[in-house]
Symmetry: C2
Subunit: 308 residues, 2 copies
């Protein structure tokens, strides 16, 4: 089934304990669409860049069969830019610079062919822009997921909650879940967030894995323990892309299949962090994905012997 995503397509400057990249391609929609492209053809991307954005990267996305018909290119303007620095634990980062540029007055316009999308992933963006995307759809999709961040909770809680009330799946990190719900316990946070609208909550905990909540059910997927994590940038978006890519591919919203989606999201995220930026995500093979899925099975599965 068709998958649409909206989010940033941008430049990042990244500093980690392992190296530095001054100006590489990033952005939520870039990571989401690349990850999803391993599960779905013709992922429909909605975003905006300036005329400084490299054509070769757009060609890379097209080669992965990502539709760029919804990508606006603004002549004489610059692409969104974010600079951040990671500390040794790789779970904490400081934002050093944010230049909105084309994002400042981004008005997403959906091509006709996008308006019947059955699965929608709203990447982290101004809640009003996420809402503008939903408003242009011809009918309610089979599933809408959204990502957001603490910044919108601090500055635009009302419009954020309006979007949250319209989505099926919310994907946020643990600190954001606590902030949004006012609860320290993630179980309590999940139930508060269900009252806001979503029926599914994915809590991303970085190197500590991800939790999927639905009603009274809960599923946990660890992050793959890696020898080296070079750059965590985009891992959460990559997770979301793999997750929604699998759901759109299978069209199956059973909890058992949502578990698989969480695992595939974790599989794709485990590749993302192995190199800077989108490098690793451009070059995956089906074999690599299958082998890594096997590693997740060995990492998590055990055979039960009961006490008697």
């Amino acid at each position: 089934m068709s998958l649409l995503t909206v989010g940033t397509v941008a430049f990042d400057a990244i500093e980690t304990p392992f190296g530095k990249a001054d100006k590489i391609v990033g952005g939520a929609a870039t990571y989401i669409s690349l990850a999803a492209s391993y599960f779905k053809n013709d992922v429909k991307l909605v975003s905006v860049v300036g005329d400084d954005f490299p054509q070769e990267v757009l060609n890379d996305l097209k080669k992965r069969n990502i539709s760029l018909d919804g990508l606006q290119v603004k002549e004489g303007e610059k692409s969104f830019f974010w600079a951040g620095k990671y500390h040794y634990n790789m779970n904490d980062r400081d934002t050093l610079d944010t230049q909105l540029n084309v994002l400042a007055d981004f008005d997403p316009v959906l091509p006709e062919a996008y308006k019947d999308s059955e699965f929608v992933m709203l990447g982290n963006l101004t809640p009003a822009v996420q809402m503008r995307v939903l408003e242009q759809l011809n009918q309610r999709p089979k599933a809408v997921a959204m990502d957001t961040m603490n910044f919108w909770m601090d500055t635009a809680m009302d419009s954020l909650k309006e979007v949250i009330s319209k989505v099926d799946i919310l994907t946020i990190n643990d600190e954001e879940a606590k902030q949004l719900s006012g609860e320290y316990s993630l179980v309590r946070a999940a139930h508060k967030i269900f009252e806001m609208g979503p029926k599914y909550l994915v809590i991303k905990k970085g190197e500590h894995g991800a939790l999927l909540f639905h009603g009274e059910e809960v599923f946990f997927a660890p992050a793959l323990p890696l020898q080296d994590v070079f750059d965590p940038t985009g891992a959460g978006d990559t997770f979301a892309g793999g997750f929604m890519g699998w759901l759109a591919r299978s069209g199956d919203l059973s909890f058992e299949n949502m578990k698989r989606a969480v695992i595939y999201g974790s599989v794709l995220a485990s590749f993302c962090v192995e190199k800077f930026g989108i490098e690793r995500l451009k070059e995956l093979t089906l074999d690599e994905i299958t082998q890594r899925l096997d590693r997740f099975v060995r990492l998590t599965h055990f055979s039960v012997k009961k006490l008697d």
Copy 2:
């Protein structure tokens, strides 16, 4: 097979965001032996208390078929006392007070019946005391596990490393694994620690679960997401007790069975944190343990559908 444990039997004063307990029973060996008692009869406890320690608690331990023949009671002396305060995230705590009392010159003496123990769990203690226990054994046990903490890394690294070189399984938390190995990556830390002697490493991450490393193999068990965590004190020791209890019960050191031990450790720890101190651990039923094991299966297991 027989299981021996050495560690503190003590008083704790605990403050959490949910309440306060001025003087309750705690101690590594208390938690370890209680947890292990659900898997093994006649867990052999080695420790020391003062004459201030309540007889009714000793009776509770005996009711769980824990052998106290190796417990020294020092007339006219006071039991070890620790006071700590947890913050909202429950993963960080401050030590407010430590009174060694009887622990200051503790010389463990193993009764004859203890000296052929096939499984040994060295709870967190002065490394020299842990070594004294190993020295009194008649033969090399089938498996020796040890716990320790950053305090001994700061103050007694040489004697700590000597004990580590003698054990099969090391159970420490993630920060301690990083400190001991000088590595930020837990995968790299595991390989450095294997060079020190142990063949198995369990890294406890509190609410973020536990990792088991062995050679190139790795297994992960999450902590059960709970509505409320009342008191994390003793959760790591309870994990170790459940883990070694299952190993001693089954006598099986295959990696597949070690996975089960990690899960049973996690099951027991999930009960421990539900009430203050050892309250919850005194009252478990076989049904409760089996039901919680089922929750861990649902929390972690997924059926694979491969990409094609």
